[in-house]
Symmetry: C2
Subunit: 275 residues, 2 copies
């Protein structure tokens, strides 16, 4: 087997805009598209290096930005994705925003206020660890807002993401699709390893007990909000390496599509005196 092309990865993992979408039955292993783990590692390493180069060009250009949105159940690997896909990049020009339960200042505004405030500046790559999708996921499942309000949000989110896209931000959305069994294994690991223990929160188990409700909320969000300007990709996430390798392929593809060039400075070299 060979490393699948960026086009092949996109095609296999996208939730096609405007089409029917079902989450159940989607592969969570990643083996269907990237069987060989050694190849996945090679691919990830190569893509991380290219992403680093292209990110520097994006920064130098300073006109556009890339926003990577990561969503997934606890332990799905949001932090690990950031660490591995961007392992080669300098933190300069990267903006990682982890969205937590909203503060009272944030609750005093509409739910997109804090999100808009956190979009990456031109030239930068922004990563959202969780995002405004929580406002149609956990908020829906736990009833934190009236269902009529939640129902309005899908269109609002599409309008917001279209606005970002039309103003120079490429938006990529990844649903890290981890299996129920695999999550159980990872939660147990968090209790057993001292450097993972801090991540464990007994509240996570309450979300786990509502697994199928969460999956339904994800399915709905993805179906309604996978658009041409901001597509959803469903990433098989039972294997850390395959997960990161697949995301790296798509991130690289998005940066390549920007057709970045080293900027013409607008003056002639050789006309300066360096004393």
């Amino acid at each position: 087997m060979a490393i699948p092309s960026i086009a092949a990865v996109r095609k296999a993992l996208i939730a096609p805009p405007g089409k029917a979408f079902e989450l159940s039955g989607r592969d969570t292993t990643g083996r269907e598209i990237l069987e060989d783990k050694a190849e996945a590692e090679t691919s990830l390493k190569k893509d991380a290096a290219v992403i680093n180069e292209l990110k520097d060009m994006l920064y130098a250009e300073g006109r556009r930005s890339l926003l990577v949105i990561l969503q997934g159940m606890d332990t799905a690997g949001k932090s690990g994705t950031i660490k591995s896909v961007f392992s080669e990049t300098t933190p300069l020009g990267m903006e990682v925003k982890a969205f937590k339960a909203p503060s009272s200042e944030e609750l005093a505004r509409d739910y997109l206020w804090r999100v808009h405030n956190a979009v990456p500046r031109r030239g930068n790559v922004g990563i959202f660890d969780r995002s405004h999708y929580e406002d149609v996921l956990v908020v829906r499942v736990r009833g934190f807002a009236p269902i009529e309000e939640v129902e309005k949000r899908y269109d609002q989110i599409n309008a917001f993401e279209k606005h970002l896209s039309e103003n120079g931000t490429t938006v990529l959305k990844f649903m890290l699709n981890v299996g129920y069994e695999e999550q159980g294994i990872r939660l147990k690991e968090r209790l057993e390893e001292v450097h993972k223990l801090w991540k464990f929160n007994p509240v996570d188990l309450e979300d786990r007990s509502r697994w199928s409700e969460f999956m339904q909320a994800y399915e709905l969000a993805i179906r309604r909000c996978s658009t041409r300007h901001a597509p959803w990709y469903i990433i098989p996430s039972d294997s850390l390496t395959r997960r990161s390798a697949l995301i790296a392929r798509i991130v690289r593809g998005a940066l390549e599509d920007m057709d970045l060039k080293w900027k013409d400075p607008g003056f002639a070299p050789g006309s300066f005196d360096f004393g």
Copy 2:
């Protein structure tokens, strides 16, 4: 020769709080403290790995933060420092803020407003690429504010940094000390290499033409604002490798001094059901 200890690097490079300080005559090569370049590379690599570990513990703890302030003339290596000292770290939990000319919104408030707004959240490492020191450097040299205003700022800055320090933020300040000749070489390089050209700004030459005024402004800022709670370190920066290796020693030292531990989660493992 051996890699100098963290204590030795600190002692050699600190501007001792409350004591006389002169910038002129300070070594810009780094050879006096770290002669062997291969050793500098080894030291940098090791320290970057340790910084990565400690940064993860800081993030897990979520109670304190580290703020690294980088100042220096153009080409002194602020971006390069970020890239190399934090080459091993994930962007999660890192906040890099590059301060540019203030916007009209920023100018409508006091000069520390935008700075306070950008301090790292608890658990994070913040890096300032330029900082509020511009308000006593370029602002002083170019007369962007009345001299009486500028004169008040040193005490204001000390009070602000003391406040941060008392509220859980370790503050480290690095002056990247590059020689006049070396800057000339680097500016020329920016014109000759396509991937550096975007960094070149003809305005940089105006700052270069006021080199000695800038050095005086730096000397004054360092003399007045090197404090026990927020010391200034003068980093010889003619060599990229030595510069980064020396900064990495001090950053590592600051993280080690925090005495970070993996947090006790406050509940007994084994009492959970993963269904």
